[in-house]
């Protein structure tokens, strides 16, 4: 009996010790050793490195595919919005296409894509917009539009705007695309492409993602990709960054700043 009790006592002590060990914080050196054990080293010889590249996960390369925008689709989108505006003008008696007036700020424009030449934007340098060969889109909201500064290159651009002291916006666009890469990534991206929601007015697929600076809305239109970023001073509490509504509303009402590429304003 005594032996049985001693055995039970010993076992329970061992169990307690094991439990205590489980609850103890991990050993940093052991964690580091584990990393080292699974780390990959690259052979110094070019040939040996090349032979091992596939095993080491160093052989999956994406490739750049140059693409032109679908200007026909741009014209069709402008015509559709214009027809909607005319219908609305007739119903309300208000001209939806009037140019922005500084100091007497008009209300946020209705959704859709409208042409607005660069010279109507006070901070936009015509030289920067003329060079851009792809649809140069930006949110139409006066808070953004009137402060837009464009950095143009032939096949890409970025436009930025300070919304107020707490938030700023940027939009970048490009039609060239990068395709391929790791097989698991390709499968994942295909699945992701099946279900994203659409911006109602632009009829474009979009995704919203958050980051250290704020929030991104990426959408695809006219064969090109665009990303709108709002950076907030207080990323975790400013509703423009924490909620989807503000950024998706901005994306639903856009201006085309280089309408001459589509055949005029």
């Amino acid at each position: 009996m005594r032996t049985l009790l001693l055995t039970c006592l010993t076992l329970s002590t061992m169990a307690s010790a094991a439990l205590a060990q489980t609850a103890a914080p991990p050993d940093a050196d052991a964690v580091q050793r584990e990393l080292e054990a699974k780390a990959i080293r690259i052979p110094a010889s070019d040939l040996a490195a090349a032979l091992k590249a596939s095993d080491d996960g160093r052989s999956d390369r994406a490739r750049l595919v140059p693409r032109k925008p679908d200007w026909e689709a741009v014209r069709a989108e402008l015509a559709r919005t214009s027809a909607d505006d005319e219908t609305r003008d007739n119903e309300t008696g208000i001209d939806q296409r009037r140019p922005p007036v500084r100091g007497n700020r008009p209300p946020p424009p209705p959704s859709g894509l409208r042409a607005l030449a660069a010279e109507r934007l006070p901070r936009t340098d015509r030289g920067e917009t003329d060079i851009v060969l792809i649809p140069l889109l930006a949110p139409a909201h006066p808070d953004v539009r009137d402060n837009l500064k464009v950095y143009g290159q032939e096949n890409t651009y970025t436009a930025v705007s300070k919304i107020d002291n707490e938030a700023s916006l940027s939009i970048s666009g490009v039609c060239n695309r990068v395709i391929g890469g790791a097989p698991n990534l390709v499968s994942l991206r295909k699945r992701m492409a099946e279900g994203p929601p659409r911006l109602t007015a632009l009829r474009a697929r979009y995704n919203i993602s958050r980051n250290e600076f704020g929030v991104d809305l990426s959408f695809s239109k006219f064969g090109c990709g665009y990303v709108i970023t709002i950076e907030c001073g207080d990323t975790d509490n400013d509703e423009r960054c924490t909620e989807d509504q503000y950024i998706s509303r901005l994306a639903d009402s856009m201006i085309l700043i280089n309408p001459e590429r589509a055949g005029g304003e």
Partner: protein, 280 residues
């Protein structure tokens, strides 16, 4: 170029033995099967440090596979894609990719028993480790449970201890965009549309101006720990470069692209390999 004779020899032997393998002779029914002498294989000698790529201080470069994160730091995102094979590495000197949050000096370092300061030697050594999709409270489309949308890179030495200056450089030819009014990010856009973001540089001592066209390798700014809240007050962070890459990515020619953040981890491994080889 260093030639690793052991690897070459092993490859050559394997190739020759594959070529010289004969078709088995047809056996007459009833014949006993020919007994084969088991071939004695010479074990390959253990490789030495010299067999592997090293940095200029003689440390062997190594990296934990993409998407394999530290314990308790999230599921990660396994993406081995090299998106931009020709970029130059974003720091001039040696660099160490690892977690700023779940290692020494980080707010959650204790989860891995790493409770010492940011200058702990293991933070400034290999292997590299991926931090894309490391756990964060933010929704990120590539990180199902929320995560870090870039990778963190420590400079060649721990700046608060050494006082050294470590430069971040342009990874490609491109243009600095949207710098005006930016509190802690520098954006570089290439002519074909790739967008890079550099964060936590010493913003009042940048080497580039807003709208400037820069060339690959050109100095942009000094690695630092600049991070501010909306009131302009500093938010504590370690000395490191937070690096992001946006690509207009489509899985194939037919699918609509999405212009968003992708994992730069293997692109950086590739760039670092080139950097070390160039220095050899």
């Amino acid at each position: 170029m260093k030639l690793d004779l052991r690897y070459m020899l092993a490859g050559l032997i394997a190739f020759l033995s594959a070529c010289t393998q004969e078709e088995p002779a047809s056996e007459t029914p009833g014949d006993p099967p020919a007994e084969e002498e088991p071939a004695e294989e010479e074990p390959l000698p253990e490789p030495e440090d010299d067999d592997f790529l090293q940095d200029n201080e003689g440390r062997v470069f190594s990296y934990v596979p993409a998407g394999d994160l530290l314990p308790s730091s999230g599921p990660g995102h396994s993406d081995t894609t090299i998106y931009r094979p020709d970029i130059t590495f974003p720091l001039e000197d040696a660099a160490f990719l690892n977690s700023q949050v779940y290692r020494h000096g980080g707010s959650n370092g204790g989860l891995n028993g790493m409770t010492e300061g940011q200058c702990h030697p293991s933070n400034y050594d290999y292997p590299w480790q991926d931090t894309f999709c490391e756990s964060r409270s933010r929704e990120q489309i590539m990180c199902p449970t929320g995560g870090h949308e870039g990778v963190d890179i420590r400079a060649g030495s721990c700046i608060p201890e050494t006082g050294a200056v470590h430069w971040a450089v342009a990874v490609e030819d491109g243009r600095i965009v949207g710098l005006e009014g930016s509190k802690y990010t520098v954006k570089l856009q290439t002519s074909d549309g790739t967008l890079y973001r550099y964060m936590h540089l010493k913003m009042d001592q940048l080497a580039v101006g807003d709208g400037e066209f820069v060339t690959k390798g050109q100095r942009i700014g000094k690695v630092s720990n600049d991070f501010f809240n909306s009131a302009g007050d500093p938010v504590p962070t370690t000395f490191h470069l937070h690096f992001e890459m946006y690509q207009n990515y489509a899985p194939d020619e037919e699918t609509d692209p999405i212009f968003d953040q992708v994992s730069p981890y293997m692109t950086l491994v590739n760039a670092y390999e080139k950097k070390l080889r160039a220095a050899e």
